[in-house]
């Protein structure tokens, strides 16, 4: 037993697992041993290729490897450390090599774990065209410069500049840094300017802001605590803008503190097959500035795998916006909107709820629920490969958007929001776009709608990063 030497070539994380979790298949097929019982002493952990990265963060990350007592533990701990290094984005590439330790000071079961790393010499620069990011029929160019591990302790710095063809676009500068070398606890700050058009409400907005955030995990999930100060300049989009929207134009300064708790146990963000999501958001605006409100949002999702790779997905979202000063109305740029090809299907984008001259006015509260049955495409073309990017789905979506009337009781308000709900159902195809967005082409039949809603019956398509 004592003479077993394992030598791992430069391999990736995945191959470590397959190689070491079961019995080793050495040259002799009858040779059998349990790697959990092979005693190990890690003599040295060597890391080479380090330039600007600071020693303290590396020591902290790699130290646990030294405490391994058996072979399995050693492999697991070194892989764990590699994952942390990758999460911290310290290096472009990390490889592990495990070897027996040699030389005079080598102990009997001595091993040496070597990390071969490569640091990034230059910032990552990319240029892309974003379609419909600001307004429906325009594309804009986004230039982004990203430099991970800027000062050697995992600081991430990004600089964006975007330009819409006819208007000034925006810019953004983000900086974030892990605390104590823990990739899950980060603090950060950003400064930005953005321009956006809201054709459904016929207004445009320039926002300039700055934010500070702190991300940390607890047993409940991951938390993000954020302060944001933003100056927003809202103007009517054109001469046909409804007066009810035009009336709200002007400058607002919002200073708010926001807390997000997210517990995401899904296996994928776009087309999950199992797991659940809980997301709770609370926002309080009114720390200075002239915007005051309290906003509470909730988003829930549960995925239940069935036979033949089909999945039932149940989603629920809702939000409520409360005034602090009863004499001050909450402006359109803080209100809720509902409807669209990826949310409440069968209605135009934000086409549900109160309107004035065709412009959506938004409201104080909403709820939205969706029931999907996802299945692979019929006859499963491209199974296991290209076809996995697609799913067909059948869905029923229901929701409502309305104002909460303080003269009425909570019960009456609840009744109003549930009685006048909108309902639609249909079927279609979902396409996963990268790891962040999805495209849907659906045939939708709206069943229940209210006066003033912009109903969109029949074929509907949409691309987006938020969907339900």
């Amino acid at each position: 037993m004592g003479a077993v030497h394992a030598k791992a070539p430069e391999t990736t994380m995945e191959s470590h697992r397959t190689q070491f979790e079961g019995p080793s298949n050495d040259t002799d097929p009858n040779f059998n041993f349990d790697i959990r019982t092979v005693p190990v002493k890690v003599d040295r952990v060597v890391i080479d290729g380090v330039g600007k990265t600071k020693n303290d963060i590396l020591e902290k990350t790699l130290k646990p490897v030294l405490s391994a007592t058996n072979f399995k533990e050693m492999v697991e701990k070194s892989t764990q450390a590699k994952i942390v290094l990758e999460k911290l984005e310290l290096f472009k590439k990390v490889d592990i090599l495990i070897d027996t330790s040699k030389g005079k000071n080598a102990s009997t079961n001595g091993y040496e774990v070597q990390y071969h790393v490569e640091e990034r010499k230059y910032p990552i620069l990319n240029v892309k065209m974003e379609l419909g990011a600001h307004s429906a029929n325009e594309s804009d160019v986004v230039v982004r410069m990203k430099s991970p591990n800027l000062f050697g302790r995992g600081e991430l710095c990004t600089l964006d500049y975007s330009r819409v063809f006819k208007d000034d676009g925006g810019y953004g500068f983000q900086f974030s840094k892990p605390i104590n070398g823990d990739p899950d606890i980060r603090i950060g700050a950003n400064v930005y300017k953005g321009y956006a058009e809201f054709p459904w409400s016929s207004f445009k907005e320039i926002s300039r802001g700055t934010a500070l955030h702190l991300m940390f995990p607890t047993i409940l999930g991951s938390h993000c605590l954020k302060w944001e100060g933003v100056w927003r300049e809202m103007r009517a989009l054109n001469r046909n803008t409804s007066f009810a929207v035009r009336e709200q134009s002007g400058h607002t300064l919002k200073s708010s503190i926001q807390h997000v708790l997210m517990r995401d146990r899904r296996d994928d963000k776009i087309l999950p097959t199992k797991g659940y999501l809980v997301k709770l958001t609370q926002e309080y605006a009114g720390l200075g500035g002239n915007v005051e409100f309290v906003k509470n949002d909730v988003e829930l999702q549960y995925n239940l795998p069935l036979v033949f790779d089909s999945i039932i997905q149940l989603s629920l979202a809702g939000g409520i916006l409360t005034k602090i000063d009863q004499n001050k109305d909450i402006k359109i740029n803080d209100r809720y909107f509902l409807g669209g090809p990826l949310t409440l299907r069968g209605f135009t984008v934000n086409g549900v709820g109160p309107h004035s001259d065709g412009n959506a006015l938004g409201a104080d509260a909403y709820w939205l629920s969706g029931l999907h049955l996802y299945t692979p495409l019929p006859f499963r073309p491209g199974k296991g490969g290209f076809g996995e990017m697609f799913r067909s789905h059948f869905f029923v979506t229901a929701g409502n958007l309305g104002n909460v009337n303080l003269m009425e009781t909570a019960k009456e308000n609840f009744k109003n929001l549930t009685e006048t709900f909108r309902l639609s159902y249909g079927l279609g195809v979902v396409l996963r776009l990268g790891g962040i967005a999805r495209l849907e082409i659906n045939y939708v039949i709206p069943v229940r709608s209210q006066n003033g809603d912009n109903v969109d019956r029949g074929f509907q398509y949409g691309i987006g990063i938020s969907f339900l």
Binding site: W231, E233, M234, R235, A236, R239, F243, R246, E247, S249, G250, H251, L253, G288, G289, N290, D357
Partner: protein, 261 residues
């Protein structure tokens, strides 16, 4: 270009009916917020509408400037239709056949247009200069008033931003390099020309007021009553007796409540 044509079309379509009953007049808050040049324009338009006997509902809004389709005050809302600033409003009223200068002949009319242009360029630019470029007036009056409706730091940023706009406007018409004395001389020259034209008449063109009277009243009344750090300007206006009398006459006839608002 397309929008220019659109605006003209809009103007025509909106002007087919007689004076609607639901006209609203939007301007910033008179006492705490409005700046000197903006107030002159608001006063000129209000005077013009009163002279024309047209009714409107005065609405004070802190965000009147941002609401306005042109970005300047005042503006009128007639049903779903909006018109901003003096000249377009006068044009709109004229197009409805409600003109108060219809009795003028061609020569008088072009003379009136020339005087209106002079008041716009000289008095309006001078007011812009005094309130936004003159350091004392800007710091003591214009900035606190313009910023008064916004929270800090917007109460500093927005006046500064507007100041930049005014600077580039005055730069384009060559006013930026003038000294305060130059500006006061410009005002005097303009007042002299107006005073000569008015002579002993009741109004600029005879017994009936025209839009020129309204415009001159808007600017002069404001310049006489405004409380500026130095009183040189008010003093020099007082020298043009007939213009001051014109203001008193218009105020007495069309306003009794002007101080109260």
């Amino acid at each position: 270009m397309a929008s220019l044509v659109g605006d003209v079309m809009h103007l025509k379509i909106g002007a087919t009916e007689k004076w609607p009953t639901d006209v609203a007049f939007f301007q910033p808050y008179q006492v705490e917020q409005v700046t000197l040049p903006d107030y002159s324009n608001c006063l000129a338009v209000r005077t013009f509408l009163s002279m024309s006997g047209l009714k409107f509902d005065l609405q004070l809004k802190t965000n009147a400037e941002e609401m306005s389709p042109s970005g300047r005050v005042p503006f009128l809302k007639m049903g779903a239709f909006l018109v901003a600033e003096f000249d377009p409003i006068v044009a709109n009223v004229n197009m409805r056949g409600l003109s108060i200068s219809a009795h003028l002949d061609e020569t008088e009319r072009s003379e009136m247009t020339a005087y209106i242009t002079m008041v716009h360029t000289v008095l309006y630019n001078a007011e812009l200069y005094l309130s936004w470029i003159d350091k004392d007036i800007f710091a003591s009056t214009t900035r606190p008033r313009y910023g008064s409706v916004h929270p800090w730091p917007l109460s500093w940023i927005l006046p500064w931003k507007r100041q930049m706009e005014v600077k580039s406007r005055l730069n384009a018409c060559g006013w930026i390099d003038k000294t305060k004395e130059n500006v006061l001389d410009e005002i005097k020259a303009c007042l002299q020309a107006l005073s000569d034209r008015l002579a002993k008449n009741t109004y600029f063109f005879g017994e009936k007021p025209t839009e020129l009277d309204a415009l001159v009243f808007g600017h002069l009344y404001n310049l006489i009553t405004v409380r500026l750090p130095d009183s040189k300007l008010t003093g020099s206006i007082q020298n043009y007796r007939n213009l001051v009398d014109l203001c008193t006459r218009i105020e007495g006839k069309f306003y009794r409540d002007i101080q109260e608002n």
